[in-house]
Subunit: 285 residues, 2 copies
């Protein structure tokens, strides 16, 4: 994510077998490539302005048509024009690498990750866990269906909500690698500590039916990733329910930024030991 | 290539084994990824403003460091800031796919490919053939060295020249796939025919030493591609030598746009039959 003048710039690249399953429907791969970039814009409160696609071809016309139709669907849904890009051939058998650059018009105030202050409340908007639970179902059975699988395949970036919250947020980011990991990133960037209350997570009925509602289920939801939710640090006196009135989503006060560097995790039963894995850590240098 | 407000946007993706040789020095791969995008900006007369990199990693740190140092070199040379991007892991053995989005500040007049008019002179700026001759030397012997190999590995995008010519050009593009192919694209987009005089090509001394100066050598130079030259359609009364005074490059009046759709190729000896292959046609749908 970068800023250039009044533009927010984002680029995400996804790799077959790394970021999506070769068995995923191509339409959903196209949709998700759009969603992952648009979710970055949402976290900045930006309005979609245009996109450039990097498309690699492997001679499977049907796959590529279906991928493009999924991409077009999300572009139409959010009014994002495809302005250009590049199309290149891959050697036979190479995994697909698909890239998208998205430009958005920035709002007057662009919240960063680093603007949070001790005492800010942390608000989570959008469900967490559903997508990871859907992926787990697909890993067990590639023919799995249902709401969790749908959420994994067709995540909805929260552009309207991001634009409404941005003017009020000290810091904001999208939760894509797991709530605990991303919340720690926001706190670290802001020079703060962190307290998260797992019992504040509103788990969806589908999630609870599939994985239950205990501490283990909540830890799974808070570390699974692929959520496309927003995490905002708001001054304690700011009420996002008022700001977001009329937009029907899950809004949860999941914790707060604190003085010092500690990360404290609790639930209704008391302190929760931090899991070894806080989220999806990319295999990067 | 796309326009958004006063920005010129370009994205190019290169694939190992398709757009560059696995034996190419990684620094030159980084340099060329920058050059291919900056050459697109040059053809629009735009000033570099920022870039987003899509980097795929395969666990070879040294390759990746060297690639990035080549990219940084060209970014520094042309004052292009790296604003962001994405870094992702590749499965073992997958060919690298490297993408770059570059944004440029547009000039008041942005020449397209389609603005040429019958009667315009076609001016070629920059040498053609050197890069293809260098690639041929490397294909014969991976240890080949010399000016032609240097030109293949370290092409120079003509940003200053593009910016100077843009206000005067009816149409302009960069010659990257071969002069004959790209000139036909410009003529077709402009609804014109085309006359090219092969004998007007100023071949470099290195090129002539390697491949000679006859019709076959000139056809090789005019169809080889990877040139990073500029092709501009200027009104007959416009003298680019005056406009470009002080910028030391090859400037050649290589032909003209004509009424009707014919493509006429000539040299000192008379008409030249069009070769079957006019340049590097990408393997695309």
């Amino acid at each position: 994510m970068a800023l250039l003048g009044d533009l927010v710039l984002t680029h995400d690249t996804i790799v077959e077998g790394v970021h999506y399953l070769p068995t995923d429907p191509p339409e959903s791969v196209g949709w998700k490539l759009g969603a992952v970039n648009l979710s970055d814009l949402a976290a900045k409160g930006a309005v979609p302005a245009g996109a450039l696609l990097s498309l690699t071809l492997r001679g499977d016309d049907l796959w590529e048509e279906r991928f493009l139709s999924g991409l077009e669907q999300i572009f139409e849904h959010f009014g994002l024009p495809l302005l250009g890009g590049d199309t290149v051939a891959l050697p036979a058998g190479a995994p697909r690498v698909l890239g998208l650059t998205v430009l958005g018009k920035a709002a007057a105030h662009v919240p960063s990750r680093s603007g949070g202050k001790a005492g800010d409340r942390l608000w989570l908007i959008g469900p967490v866990g559903d997508s990871a639970a859907g992926l787990a179902q697909l890993s067990a059975s590639p023919k799995a269906t249902g709401l969790l699988v749908d959420t994994y395949r067709r995540p909805i970036p929260l552009l309207t909500i991001g634009a409404l919250l941005a003017p009020h947020a000290h810091a904001m980011m999208d939760v894509s690698d797991g709530l605990l990991l991303d919340a720690r990133r926001l706190a670290t960037a802001s020079g703060c500590g962190l307290r998260i209350d797992l019992s504040a997570l509103a788990l969806s009925p589908s999630f609870r039916a599939a994985r239950g509602n205990d501490r283990a289920a909540r830890l799974f939801a808070a570390t699974g990733g692929d959520d496309y939710a927003l995490l905002a640090a708001l001054p304690a006196e700011t009420d996002p329910l008022t700001i977001l009135k009329g937009t029907a989503v899950n809004i949860m006060a999941v914790g707060e930024l604190t003085r010092g560097g500690a990360f404290v995790l609790v639930d209704d039963l008391g302190p929760v030991p931090l899991p070894e894995r806080l989220g999806y850590e990319h295999d990067l240098p």
